[in-house]
Symmetry: C2
Subunit: 337 residues, 2 copies
């Protein structure tokens, strides 16, 4: 026990624009023993998500502001390696919010136990975790997607977007995806079953949307913001739902966010734009996870994993891959055992 | 009959920015006799509304594009002066969409009969018409306003805003209004019962909103758009509803609409922004009108009338008063008998 060392990636400074190396500090300390009723978890997978950029800001949000010097917040999957809690046994796998570090000690109350017999552990950061649940909540709860609807999905090759398109198809709708580059567009069509894919790096989005959505858009699931959001709004139908899940094009803007001038289409089309996080629906997660596990088992939902193996030190560079669009599939770090 | 003349204000050109005199044509023609099953209505009051600016554009909207040479679309109240229809008798008062002209002939199917014993005829363009219904639909149906909520209302001294604030108070909430100038702000507090009024011409909106809404905003009823919308968004609570009723600050922009960069607060606050028109809820109008008539009779709802008397020729100048903010109360034209 005493030989265990915990490496931690801490927030050292508030970034302006893209996070720089100097915005991080990496520390190493011996791991303590868990106290009474506490558990010690070895983190095995770290989820790398666009929302992390927002968590680095000193701005009120849906989560408390992260203090300077605190371990970087991150969704994780890990294994219980020591336990003084009746609720957790050594060898249990748990999903939680342990942050970018090797080990975490807590009372274990925040953990969700996961069944690694049902799916590999990292699936609980993907289809059976943030990606699948975010897609499910946004498309079906917030967006009230119906059979026959057309869904437009930006960031469609990302882990959330990939699930949105597949669930839209499962529910009897059309799915049109926006992604960057021919490889991602082929992935949308060939592996995920989208009806159409638009390569924003090559195509004129306005023209391509007109072609791909001849009957307009009933639901726009937006992960991107900026011009993408604004252009999509030009095509919404009466009663459309514009679901705001993210704005990855804007997170590193050092000036102001770009506002969508076409928001006025909400008025002209009696439509709504609505933001959410999947935690808003945590009471409904059990039923959602059951659906997601069934669809996954039936092969109706797939999602690529983009897993980088290494120590926590690789986190800063891995995070940047999200904003350059280099990642392909659900981005995670797999820590050494 | 044959001596009756119909003066009509027609759309002669699509305006760029504020409508100019050359964008209008005024014609005069003898009034025909109504045909079989038709009625002839003498228009008595013409409603002058911000939405009219949008109706002049060649852009798809919730109403058909108005052709060049067509009579300008307008909500009206009038009196049946000749009828070959069993449904309408001479002397009946009706509310309709007869446009900026003295007389209209139709089959009468679009008219709503009004009771001038219950309220003066022009009330059916105000509390018992577009203004009251728009406020009711936006606040209670779209915005789901609840007792204890704080409503922020922009364009609060306008006819819709005035009703929104008073209904919010009736329903047990707080009402904070934004208006231009000390006279309008005094009207909000002294006559309409708003809890606070912000003079956007004199005050820093961000600072004043912080003071007037210490517990944030649960419902933002926006008639204005632009900086007003964007600044209000900075104060929304979790689960807030931003009801988009209009964007009067932007209708005459010759460049692009200003988009609200703070739309991202919808994500950070799990909130929604939703547009509507009161026609969306026409199935519910009878019950709404009953409520509005009751509140009016009980003195719980008042709204100033800003009535200009004259021939239809005064319409172009009267419309401009809306955009300069000169009007005070529900703007209407009363035609000569």
């Amino acid at each position: 026990m005493s030989k265990r060392l915990n490496r931690q990636v801490q927030l050292a400074a508030r970034p302006e624009g893209l996070p720089k190396p100097a915005d991080w500090a990496i520390t190493e300390e011996p791991v303590s023993e868990p106290g009474p009723e506490e558990v010690l978890v070895k983190v095995r997978y770290i989820s790398v998500d666009p929302a992390m950029r927002g968590w680095m800001n000193d701005r009120p949000s849906y989560v408390p502001v992260l203090g300077l010097g605190a371990v970087m917040r991150a969704l994780t999957v890990g294994e219980v390696v020591a336990s003084n809690s009746g609720a957790h046994r050594v060898g249990d796998w748990v999903a939680g919010l342990d942050g970018v570090q090797d080990y975490a000690i807590s009372d274990g109350s925040q953990y969700m136990k996961i069944d690694t017999g049902l799916a590999p552990p990292q699936t609980y950061l993907n289809t059976l975790g943030i990606a699948g649940l975010t897609a499910y909540c946004g498309l079906l709860e917030v967006g009230q997607f119906q059979a026959g609807n057309t869904a437009l999905v930006s960031g469609a090759a990302g882990s959330v977007g990939a699930h949105v398109g597949q669930i839209a198809k499962l529910k009897g709708g059309r799915a049109v995806g926006i992604a960057g580059g021919p490889e991602k567009c082929a992935y949308l069509i060939d592996e995920l079953g989208f009806d159409a894919a638009i390569d924003y790096k090559k195509e004129n989005l306005y023209k391509s949307l007109g072609r791909a959505c001849p009957d307009g858009i009933d639901l726009f699931f937006d992960n991107v913001g900026g011009d993408t959001l604004n252009t999509g709004l030009a095509f919404i139908n009466v009663g459309a739902r514009v679901v705001i899940c993210g704005a990855i094009s804007q997170y590193n803007e050092t000036r102001s966010f770009q506002g969508p001038s076409n928001y006025i289409r909400l008025l002209m089309r009696s439509s709504r734009m609505e933001g959410f996080i999947y935690f808003d629906f945590r009471d409904k997660w059990p039923g959602m996870l059951k659906d997601l596990a069934t669809w996954r088992a039936e092969g109706k939902i797939v999602c690529r994993e983009d897993i980088t193996e290494g120590p926590v030190d690789i986190f800063p560079d891995t995070l940047l891959r999200l904003f350059s669009g280099e990642n392909f599939g659900k981005l995670m770090i797999k820590l050494p055992e």
